[in-house]
């Protein structure tokens, strides 16, 4: 696809300092995460993972940055979110079982 190709669906991205707010980005994807197992790979501090946790059955947030994961865990505790796990790892070699997730998200990861 080149620069002039149709981007497909175009939606407002919202206002935010670093990344779009999770609810807007997830809304743009148009996925119903209710009851699903979600992996957010390259999750950083869990912006999207914590957003996905509102609907998903469980969310695994994976990132190589321990500091970011610690901040994510703290945010989850603050927000009372109990269905998100934070785990250290790299996208190229995930220590996760085969066929264990319904949705895998790479946001700003590739």
């Amino acid at each position: 696809m080149n620069a002039t190709a149709s981007p497909g669906r175009v939606v407002p991205g919202g206002l935010g300092y670093l990344r779009p707010p999770a609810e807007i980005e997830l809304g743009a994807y148009g996925l119903n995460l209710r009851g699903l197992r979600v992996a957010d790979i390259g999750a950083g501090e869990g912006r999207l993972a914590l957003g996905a946790a509102r609907d998903a059955a469980s969310v695994l947030a994976v990132d190589p940055d321990r500091g970011a994961l610690a901040r994510g865990r703290a945010a989850a505790r603050r927000q009372g979110v109990s269905n998100v796990k934070f785990s250290e790892g790299a996208a190229q070699s995930l220590r996760l079982p085969d066929a264990s997730f319904d949705v895998v998200i790479f946001s700003w990861t590739l």
């Binding site: 206002l15 085969d98 790479f106 700003w108």
Partner: protein, 145 residues
């Protein structure tokens, strides 16, 4: 990058969904004056090396599509606005940004660069579905070294 996509494929159930979302360096970011919907007064390009990285990412996604690990369900783009109090704050932001060019290409004279400013950048996303046809995945496994 292909390794990461193969890992995503491996941990997904059949017909599971993979989301690839990233800044879209194929289009310049827009600088708007006064509000997030204000007049476009400038644009910001992407650094050359970052564009090359993005091209490699595109190639990796095309590769897994060609190998029939996934098929594309749909794609789209969203425009994300970042607010700045004034030009100084915007320039500071650009100074050490890893993606954006260091300078704004102004389209409007200085008098019309009225703060606050908003940088609106494109984020593109593609929703892929893991192909459920076991034949393809078996063939892929045989191709792995």
């Amino acid at each position: 990058m292909v390794d990461a996509l193969q890992e995503a494929h491996r941990i997904l159930v059949d017909r599971g969904v993979f989301v690839d979302a990233r800044p879209d360096s194929r289009v310049s970011a827009r600088v708007r004056a006064k509000s997030a919907r204000g007049t476009v007064i400038g644009t910001i390009g992407t650094q050359r090396l970052t564009k090359m990285d993005d091209t490699l990412s595109d190639r990796a996604v095309r590769d897994v599509l060609r190998r029939k690990l996934f098929h594309s369900r749909r794609r789209g783009r969203l425009w994300h606005a970042i607010p700045f109090e004034d030009i100084d704050e915007l320039n500071d932001y650009l100074t050490d940004h890893l993606r954006f060019s260091r300078r704004v290409k102004w389209r409007a004279p200085a008098a019309r660069r009225t703060p606050p400013l908003f940088v609106e950048r494109a984020v593109r996303f593609e929703i892929l579905e893991k192909r459920s046809d076991e034949r393809f995945t078996r063939e892929e496994r045989h191709r792995q070294p």
